[in-house]
Symmetry: C2
Subunit: 416 residues, 2 copies
């Protein structure tokens, strides 16, 4: 497969996707939900075939020496297929943002202006070898009125083809709204990233190297987050018990998620940091800090300069004493990644100062950064979390997959 072949393949898929997107944009919520429920049903009906196709991917993956973690993410069994079908049904039950009127103005000349939510159009989704994303991303795009071009990791190609076939059968004459890139050559990714005008938005779902490549190469807009270098700041006025519980949860509940705290900042005025550090160390968290922190808790290792800019995604936490909320805000401005940052304090004025000044997609007061998640935010699902500054920030679900248009209704007005 050459770059030119990949380009024409993506052009063909996106032309079919565009035609479907045009139809989908005008469909009502009930019709979209019904099509998605039929797709879920088709996934369930094909359960054995999906597990069999996945078995071939698993065998090839094992033969190619994929790690246990990657094989686990690749694996489908009947329980996972059922979860996938149920996920599609859950998306079908979400409120549809398309057609929602954002605002309405009547002008002195009688023109009535509304801003109405409309789908974005054609969305490319580039992800790793996790077959469940095929159904999940397709459903989110579809329910928000968008066509999707799916490009999953090559190790999952047989699984993805089988899932795509089930989706397409379920969607019936709307099958073109979900396009799968059937070839595994990486040139297809490059062609998607260059498809200005044909693909309106690319969403990379996966690890840092995938996202970094997409951000570096893309000519089309990208919705993504690269790093989650998240901070929890324990203020001098924090409740000590709450501070300890939040710090422990924010770091240790799951260390591999993008909402995990990676740096704990503690106000020098906070009375008792020792129990917080001890609780973390007792829970198996490796701590890295400066001499002051080492003096407080002997299990703190010496931090290097890099620690403050590192997303560990492991049971490692950098810890630092700072002089109050302003110093915490300054540290976060210098080292954060604009994802999720939290303050623990009983002082509402200090909290508001932090919430206002920290320039992140999500800022939190007296809560664990691990809540950074579309489900926890009540969005019902998420296509991802965005740390860019435009369009959508934080957890992105159906609404983030829409844009708006201005609808102007007149009675013959002409402009003077």
């Amino acid at each position: 497969m050459s770059g030119i072949d990949a380009k024409s393949l993506i052009a063909e898929l996106s032309a079919r996707a565009r035609a479907a997107a045009t139809r989908l944009a005008g469909m009502d919520s009930a019709a979209k939900a019904q099509a998605l429920r039929a797709a879920a049903k088709a996934i369930r009906a094909d359960s054995d075939a999906l597990v069999a196709a996945n078995g071939e991917d698993m065998a090839a993956g094992e033969a190619n020496g994929l790690s246990g973690a990657l094989l686990d993410r690749l694996m489908l069994d009947s329980g996972r297929v059922e979860a996938m079908a149920a996920g599609v049904e859950a998306v079908a039950g979400l409120a549809d943002p398309v057609g929602q009127v954002i605002d309405r103005t009547e002008r002195p000349n009688g023109l009535v202006l509304t801003r109405v939510r409309v789908p974005i159009g054609v969305i490319g989704i580039i992800y790793e070898s996790r077959p469940n994303v095929t159904a999940d991303a397709a459903a989110l795009a579809f329910m928000s009125g968008n066509a999707a071009i799916l490009r999953g990791g090559s190790e999952a190609i047989r699984s993805n083809r089988a899932i795509h076939a089930a989706l397409a059968r379920g969607l019936g004459d709307l099958a073109d709204a979900v396009q799968l890139v059937q070839i595994t050559h990486r040139a297809a990714v490059g062609a998607m990233l260059q498809a200005e005008g044909a693909i309106d938005l690319v969403v990379p779902r996966g690890g840092k190297s995938l996202v970094a490549r997409v951000q570096a190469e893309a000519r089309v807009p990208v919705l993504a987050h690269l790093d989650g270098i998240n901070h929890t700041y324990i203020d001098g006025a924090a409740d000590p018990v709450m501070a300890c519980e939040i710090a422990l949860n924010a770091k240790m509940r799951r260390t591999g998620v993008c909402g995990a705290t990676e740096t704990l900042l503690v106000d020098r005025a906070f009375a008792d940091p020792a129990p917080v550090l001890a609780a973390l160390a007792d829970a198996g968290c490796a701590l890295r800090g400066d001499a002051e922190m080492q003096a407080i808790e002997p299990r703190v290792a010496a931090a290097s300069g890099e620690d403050w800019d590192t997303e560990y995604l492991e049971a490692i936490l950098s810890v630092k004493l700072v002089d109050g909320v302003d110093a915490a805000v300054a540290h976060i401005a210098a080292h954060g990644s604009h994802h999720t940052d939290a303050i623990v304090t009983e002082d509402a004025a200090v909290a508001e100062c932090f919430l206002n000044q920290v320039d992140s997609a999500i800022v939190m007061w007296n809560a664990s950064t691990q809540f950074a998640d579309g489900g926890e935010f009540g969005l019902g699902a998420e296509i991802g979390i965005a740390t860019g500054r435009l369009h959508a920030r934080g957890p992105v679900a159906l609404e983030g997959l829409t844009t708006y248009k201005w609808v102007v209704r007149g009675t013959g007005q002409v402009r003077a």
Copy 2:
């Protein structure tokens, strides 16, 4: 000036702009408005100096053979300086979107989530030799809490330096929020377009070649429109008098604006197209159409295939008969530029079909496309009109220069 020098200049300007943007993000509306009013006052006080500096630009422009149209856009006199100051004051009087709560959710676990409007950050504005844009764009960015990096056309550099000096004096210790690229080398534009992370958004204001260059080279997000290939569709159920008035106004009120209609589509079922075509021709509009249209109005010249894809920005109109609203929608999908398209009809169902199906930033019913303008939309001003699909579409004013963040308020919640 080398590319490296330009890069370090832009890095320096954007670092100063970022520091100012951080301060500006936390300021209340009254303080921003007060600073802008002081800037307007400084412009007024410097009127003679501005006109004098502009006189040098004008002399150089004449010596360099600038066209009359360009010289007119470059020229400042005391009346235009006053208009510039009044424009800054008008922006100071606009409602400030920053801090506005978009929505609020309370989760079952007691977490309270709000989405709050925040400034985008640092905005680069690249424009031609129109000195008034210096004050206008700076004011819009400032009032929405953003720092601006202004790069105007080189022919206006002396005028821009003088306007910038007045703005800076008026803004006092917030002067860093408005940075002017003081050098005229084009490498500075390239450096701005590549300044990912340092400049959050670039807004090109100017003609097609400027916008095309910016869109082609930019690594930072761009808010712009390239073409306004706008359509007015006269449906079979249109009121003939209204149809004639709207068609005439949509094309001929001002032919050089981006909201001007460039193609008139007429339903074959519309009873009497002849008076519409005659009125346009009588008003001095050159008409281009197919044999059918030529048969209706002898002053219609033969259209070439290119006419349907051309933004004339002159008193030229392509005219075409189509079979009803579906054919009109299909023509617009094939040839439009997603800017502004209008239908004239008395049939509400046909109108809604058009408004739903036409995929443009602005869709209109029974109104002239020339209303496509931030002022006419009640926004008070506009930084430009966007035809991209993400973030902001149509006229963009203060709200379009903001984004949002999620603010989560808890009482010690940790995630299970």
